[in-house]
Amino acid sequence: MTSLVVLDFDAHGIKQPSRSAIAAAALLGEVHVLIAGSGVGNAPAEAAKIAGVAKVLVADDASLTHGLAEPLSALIVSLAGSYAHIMWAATAAGKNVLPRVAALLDVQPLSDISGVVDADTFIRPIYAGNALATVKSSDSKKVITVRASSFDPVAAEGGSASIETLTVAAVAPQSKYLSSELSKSERPELTAAKIIVSGGRGMQNGENFTKLLDPIADKLGAAVGASRAAVDAGFVPNDYQVGQTGKIVAPDLYIAVGISGAIQHLAGMKDSKVIVAINKDEDAPIFQVADYGLVGDLFTILPELEKAL
């Protein structure tokens, strides 16, 4: 039984969540991976080195430049015949494209799995992670997105897969990429960071993120995250959001500052190894999941913390 895992990559290389998706696929049998894009550069060679990968398929074509769902799903459907499982990390790209693939194959997808029971049976969180459903699929092919934080990534090195170049059939374009506004940061990505420092509405404005949280993140080599309230209020960009409908993270250390701990936020971080909460309200629900709680005003605590680190 062979799985095809679609990888996320950019100019800096293959994203860590992809190696978690490979880890999930490896539980089912042989793993092939797909690199689809244009000007894919070093990504195929890098993919071939990932532990546990047997074959790398490369689709390098102008139509795939920005990962538009329509041509990309057509490509994946054309490859689907040989695979029992088609998988992708539950990244924005995976969530955008794989359900489209599933519909074209007349398959009900399995979204955001957090566990593999057997080839047909998977565990997935529902209701913002307040329940875990064990579900068995009766479809002959499975189309799956993988919750990266639930599977330890396989090693980036150690494999020696073969590389096969595909020819990409032309698809009449239905959508066009216009532009992106990507947040630039020298810090680790949220979904790969070992330490995350997150701010909520209690931070009051974006300036306070820069002035008070960033220096701490820099000292710890941490990524910076946020609650929905902080994003909605415009303190930080949308891609900082952690939660049910934002990014799902499970770092070694998660520091929640001025975040109350709504279930939708907890859904995105409660699997972190160690949780620290800093909040002036001693009854804030975040303290119910925190290993270490510090009650007090963040405006006095954060400068002290920065100094002490």
Binding site: R100, Y127, S138, Q174, I195, P237, Q244, D291, E304, L309
Partner: protein, 249 residues
């Protein structure tokens, strides 16, 4: 332009759900139900498109039990023109929902279908993408801004690194993310008016769709509970714990 908006009845987002003691499902009896929050955003966007003169008619569609009528009424009170209920007791999955929405979109001659990006009960995040595939239409998922002009929908999408803008050739499917708009509250006069709007009721068979699920739920369990830890007195104590007890810094 006719516009379809899909509204799902779900457990209210404020409810802390509990797993049934027989581990077959989550307890929904006696629990407050509401319109999926993302669908409220989709309805709001639809109403704004009508207010701008871009949409001519908004049809709110819900699929599920009889009580989904209430969800449709909420959409009608917000400004949708009429409703369609596809009534069934079967627990529907995105594939079946997408098939039925496709049949309705074709029958109604809709040029745009708006959905929420994700239902907060099943957390699938799939139906819109699947509908777009079945219709052979382009998709604009996780939308935080939508502009429609000259047969093109320009959609700004929330992606992992920030924002991305794409242009879709209409007809198209768009799924709403949290920051697309802030949904209005229905006014009392509009709630009264909504009572007079029509809701057509049909069955999956009327649309030629077999709603049977492809996934069977073997069990539903509580996630491992995380127990609360301790409160530390000050920053020095916190750092000491992180260095010497948890060893994470």
């Amino acid at each position: 332009m006719k516009l379809l908006v899909a509204v799902k009845r779900v457990v209210d987002y404020n409810v802390k759900v509990r797993v049934k003691s027989d581990h077959t499902a989550v307890e929904t009896a006696g629990v407050k139900m509401s319109m999926n929050p993302f669908d409220e955003i989709a309805v709001e966007e639809a109403v704004r498109l009508k207010e701008k003169g871009i949409a001519t008619e908004i049809i709110a569609v819900s699929l599920g039990v009889t009580q989904c009528q209430e969800t449709i009424r909420t959409a009608l009170a917000m400004g949708a023109d009429r409703g369609i209920l596809v009534e069934t007791d079967v627990a529907l999955e995105p594939l079946a929902v997408a098939k039925m929405l496709k049949a309705i979109a074709i029958k109604e001659g809709a040029e745009l279908v708006l959905l929420g990006k994700q239902a907060i009960d099943d957390d699938m995040n799939a139906t819109g993408q699947m509908l777009a595939a079945l219709l052979g239409w382009p998709q604009g998922t996780f939308a935080s801004k939508v502009e429609i002009a000259d047969g093109t929908a320009t959609v700004t999408r929330e992606v992992d690194g920030g924002l991305e803008t794409v242009a879709l050739t209409m007809p198209a499917v768009i799924t709403a993310d949290l920051r697309l708009n802030e949904p209005r509250y229905a006014s009392l006069p509009n709630i009264m008016k909504a009572r007079k709007k029509t809701i057509d009721v049909m069955k999956p068979e009327d649309l030629g769709v077999d709603p049977a699920p492809r996934l069977s739920i073997l069990s539903v369990n509580e996630p491992p509970v995380r127990k609360a830890g301790i409160k530390v007195a000050d920053v020095a104590a916190l750092i000491d714990k992180l260095r010497n007890e948890a060893k994470v810094i």
